[in-house]
Amino acid sequence: MSEDGTAIAADGTDTTFPRLLAGHARVRPARTAIREKDLGIWLAWTWSQVADEVRAIAGGLATLGFERGRTVAIIGDNRPRLYWTMAAVQALGGVAVPLYQDAIADEMLYVLGDAEIEIAVVEDQEQVDKLLELLPNYPALRAIVFDDPRGMRNYREPQLLAFDELVKRGRAYLEAHPGFHEAEVAKGRPDDTAVMLYTSGTTGKPKGVCQTHASLIAAARGDVGFDGFGPDDEVLSYLPMAWVGDHLFSYAQALVAGFCVNCPESSETVMTDLREIGPTYYFAPPRVFENVLTQVMIRMEDAAPIKQRLFRWSMAVAKRVGAKLLDGRASDVGFADRVRYFVGDLLIYGPLRNVLGMSRIRVAYTGGAAIGPDLFDFYRSIGINLKQLYGQTETAVYVCKQPSGQVKLDTVGKPLPGVQIRIADSGEVQVRSPGMLKEYFRRPDATAESITPDGWFMTGDAGFFDDDGHLKIIDRAKDVGRLVDGTLFAPQYIENKLKFFPHIKEAVAFGDGRAQCCAFVNIDLGSVGNWAERRGIAYSGYADLAQKPQVIALVRECIEQVNRDLAADPHLAGSQIRRFLVLHKELDADDGELTRTRKVRRGFIADKYGVLVEALYSDATHREIETQVTFEDGRKGVLRADVPIIDAAVAPSVHAPLKAA
């Protein structure tokens, strides 16, 4: 971090975002604060320009009669003016409420009502239309400010106001009220709520997570210090503004570190814009990294054979030594391998990072879901410092991060400075973090459910610390069970491990309250089908393929690999998979076996295939079953099969078994 960054960060603990902004405008007025690709080029605003715009917007909001403590909804893609509106709202002591731009009307209506929104600042006609549609049901919405005037010429609703007009009025207001802005900013207190982020709980209505200036700034400051971000860094803001991740990366951390935020031109151009900007700091959920990797693999399949061979050779070298070199363990790598890696970097990794727009990345993060080993290895081996982090909206994503050089696939890293973590008896991870929420907005019940009386936030995740002090998250706490001998049983952890094999599409693990762990497996028809074709194994369909001895052997290898992984972990060694079967049909959301978001419904499956579960826990080597199925056209039918039940080898644990305390 540069001295400038330190100067701002060390501004004292009692700061707010508007004060941080004023600080940047003072310290580095001419430096670029934000860019937006618009009309084909990257328009840039300096810190002093941003501060000026924010002042004008705040003035405009004042003309709308906006009062301290009130909320403003912000809806749209990542646009500079929407970020500025957040700062303006906060300057006036208000609370910014970013909403998901693709939310359907009902959800939006709920949040508007819950947050008592009176003013909404939105991107364009699409959002205006959505809000106008809600107007009859939500008459309290008295002002809708729209950024893009396109298509808005003939709208006559009195609530509507063009952004330019807002700014114009704001400037006039500021002229009439000199010192207004500064006075308002001065009134702000660090423990004011800065922003409310709605979490879409899996059950029940969304809850507004109130985060204060102090907590967000503390979290952001911790992050910035952890990885050493400064004004020279660049990020691309392309994730929804309503998501805590984007709020932290594109707003809180940017204001703390003073780095530059880049807004892409449109959602279709994100990849091109990423390449043009070449950010130094990048965050994406695992699925984005996964999509990119898939694209890479698909495109490489079209490459000439020579290039493919070169690619495979390079990737093999990278897999062997890339991560070690990245972690600064060059001494572990022989000279020959270092030369090979250098050649690979020249020919493949470097260009690949470049075409992906990742060549300048110093630090990349992912989190929020389990990440597959191949995926993780791929990015790290080609020299992208991809790390995992752990956190929630409620903790401002400030709990654990993997320190550079200490990256392990299946942990989420070490507790960040100022974070305290304890593992409850239930196995639940509980946190005390500087980034902790103030409360759920007007939901004392929910607040009480999530924060223990002694002030720990209950994450709902089960996990434990490994020998190196890294936190390992294994499952949702409510899903974690115990085998009869008391061994920890984390079904989702096991299932994820299985699902990371390309041949396995779905897996369902059983074991809670039973003597041992067993599993159902769905093979991936595409992947295994290919595999079978290459070996000349003929099959007529899924059910047939699933029963082929070669396929079962293939699945067994996967299971035994997972068992070896589990054996390496003292907490989980006892929950190795003893017996398994390959299901004769694909689990299907239409049959109620999966949720619409493709999560397995373990209980439902256990009931439906009770006979098979029972067979797993008997000595049977196969079991006949009839199953109701729904065909694609909606017809129902009955599927009969004789499913083999297979024993899997168990790996010896490298640790003495740990029993529950």
Partner: protein, 267 residues
Amino acid sequence: MTEHAHNPGRRIGDTLLSVDNISLAFGGVKALTDISFDVRAHEIRAIIGPNGAGKSSMLNCINGVYRPQQGSITFDGQRFDRMDPHRAARMGIARTFQNIALFKGMSVLDNMMTGRNLKMRTPLLLQALYVGPNRREEIEHRRKVEHIIDFLQIESVRKTPVGRLPYGVQKRVELGRALAAEPRLLLLDEPMAGMNLEEKQDMCRFILDVNDEFGTTIVLIEHDMGVVMDISDRVVVLDYGRKIGDGTPDEVRGNQAVIDAYLGVAH
């Protein structure tokens, strides 16, 4: 498309274009016979009719690609017995073609910049120098064109050669090229031909938005009756080169001659 698109705020003005007694023949084959109609400023005027009714020929007469043997065209108060394409363009008439007529060796951006040809002034020698006035002019027009790119939402393809684009996007680019000329009258020859439903909806919205945002008067030929009835203010119906109907969509729908023509009754 919301109801706002057809907000009463639209201001239909006086006659902008009037076609009087146009007759056109190709070597003895009559393509148009004594056609007259008018187009008012800011309105969307549709020309419909069965295949071979002379619709495209009509557009070609309006902007001077064809020279009619009889009749006259009055645009913006000036009467012409024969229009020529250059004068038409200069007076603010732009058009698109039934079969996409893009410059396929050029990028989207260059195609649209070509649309601004008439607005550019730098002499040849300065173009060879590029720096100075020419660069300023190129940049000024690039900015204008970028607004249209933004308007038509084709940012992601601006530097792609048009030949590589899918059909629907090419149609959009062609509209963009016409818009780049900032026309007062826009002639669209089957802008939605060969499109899927979603593309059609997009195109409809663009046409309405153009009409709405820029006040551009639009004459369009379209086969999709639903579209025509939805977006046009008035409709001319041609059949075998003769005008058989003219009026609002509702009037035309009720017109017996039109019904006969569409049902294929012998005439």
